[in-house]
Amino acid sequence: LDEAIDATPDEPRTSRRARAVVVGDDPAELRRLTSFLAPLPHQVVAVGSVGDALAAIRSDDDAAVVVIDARHPGVEALEVVRAIRGEEGAPTAPVLLLVGGAQDDPDAARELYGLGAVDVLAQPTDEHALRAKVSLLAELAITSAALRRADERADEHQRALAAQQSVMRALSGGASDDVISHVAQTLAQALGWQVGTFWATTGAGFRCNESWFDPSLSATELERLHAGSTLDSTGGVVGRAASSGVPVGARLDDLDDDDPFVRAALDAGLSDALALPIAVDSMPLGVIELLRAEARPLDTHTVATLDAIASLIAQFAQARRTEDETEALKNEFFALVSHELLTPLTSILGYLEELLAGASGEFNEEQEQDLEVIDRNARRLFRLVDDLMFVAQVETGSLSLNLMSVDLNAVVVEAIDAAQPAAKGRGIQLVAATEPVGQVRGDIRRLGQIVDHLISNAVKFSHDGGRVDVVLRRDGDDAVIEVADQGLGVPTAEQSRVFERFSRSSIAAEKEIPGIGLGLSISKVIAEAHGGSIAMDSTEGVGSTFSVTLPIERPSDDGASDHDQE
């Protein structure tokens, strides 16, 4: 198995040949029994002791029939059967055929049958009967060995599929960077291997990123060797898996035992090694190395599944890398955009302020009005840039609020005042109905942003000469701000998307109502960041009502209220 195992042969293992092991202490009798069995299409081995019999059975992990010649006192049938049955790791359950003797003692016969002896031949001199029985039992042994192997393969494949599930779960749940390292453990545990290591590819070779050892294993030396160690790229299964790009399996026995890793693994009672290369676009990322105590070849299905797991991990790593790069690009982009957009805005707004303050002399009324138009639009542009940067902040998870006690009445009144000019211009009536609601703990600028946005939205979507109602009321422990218009409304089919970023209703597009679809999504983020919520109730052609619910500050919060930043 000391090579790439993607071609583990299945066929030769379903051979129709069994091995007949004849045990006895009389060489002449052994020769005779052997010659009786010679015409059978099976291998016949004659051995003179229990130990040789065990060796003969173990040397073949396929079907075996054991024939015990118990006619002479030198070989005690019970002893042989006990030894075979009791042998741990005896790969098969040999079918036993006792020749003579045992049936004389009923107790011994009962124990023999109890241990699994299947037949007793009383007349060992009957060549035909012996051959017929051995032939039948050999068929039975071959069939049961084949079934057992199929079972093992099915089991192993089942485990591999379960491992695939576990790995997928681990990858989808893992947000941290070392999730790939943990996959080695996930895989080892799911497959029933005792050691799982992720060797990360470095310039010169590999570095042990993370290693997992089954608690039942006593492998102190191996653990010590793994901790933070490095491997050069040529040695062992890890190196070969990385350079070939395919899974490599090996019996530790067959590896270089000068290698301290191999020696320590053998000392820990491990026997199989498997190395699974993880590569992204043929760039090796690392190798998952698994070790187990059980020595058993891997079948092709299992290897195919392991290969699939490896590519799953690689895809994940790839996606992760792309995500990181995108994230970095996005951050860089927003930093650049904010600088490049805000610098000219600084000059526009700054010089305008100086002009309007009369720093360069007085203007006539018309000039002053023009400057105010420029100023209003520059501020609008700034708000847009600010909104985009707000979105960027939320995206990068760096939204921060300057919390203090906020009087929502004042916020609402101010927002209504600010919206009056635009409303009056289109004959829209702004009607306020507020009741004292106490204080809300929040960022006054951000809360003002929500109310400003909802009112200006309501005005935008109202018909000329319409009416917008702004209500501030208390509802239990919450303050509720409602902004209701009698305007265009939102079609039912589009209502679920109104709070999504860059979502604009078809009506807004049709009527060419300006906006880029950020305001409501920003309002939602702000409301939720304050522990509140936002909702819409709308009927197309009748109007929309937006309500923002914010938790009212409890009196016990007062002590800390004005103590925050800014």
Binding site: H339, L342, I348, G350, A357, F382, Q393, S400
Partner: protein, 126 residues
């Protein structure tokens, strides 16, 4: 407005923003020194030891943060108050500015009136 001829260093790589700040401060009676990148700002500060430095964050050569850090390391300049002008809005940037040793920061776009009162406040504090 008599500012006792206090000297303010203003550094920004954008000429228009620089001129805006310079004009505002000169009208208030300050003596204004200018720099167009971080390295120049540092050398002017070391040479003239102004009463205040107003530094843009995103400048070529050295950023406003780096200039502030250098100023704080040198006993000759460590006491110069620094106001950072930043177009970046993230909390991390603000804390980075304070960590570097800045006394205040102003977000772009800023009102010249606001800048003026921040300058007065920082100078008054010292």
């Amino acid at each position: 407005m008599d500012q006792d001829g206090k000297t303010v260093l203003v550094a920004d790589d954008d000429d228009d923003v620089l001129a805006l700040v310079v004009r505002r401060l000169e009208r208030d009676g300050y003596t204004v020194l200018t720099a167009r990148d971080g390295a120049e700002a540092l050398s002017v500060a070391q040479q003239h030891v102004p009463d205040l430095a107003v530094l843009d964050v995103m400048m070529p050569q050295l950023t406003g943060y780096e200039v502030t850090e250098h100023l704080r390391k040198d006993p000759a300049t460590e006491r110069i108050p620094v106001i950072l002008l930043t177009a970046r809005v993230q909390e991390a940037d603000v804390s980075r500015g304070f960590a570097a040793g800045a006394d205040d920061y102003i977000k772009k776009p800023f009102s010249p009136q606001e800048l003026r009162s921040r300058v007065q406040a920082v100078l008054g504090r010292r």
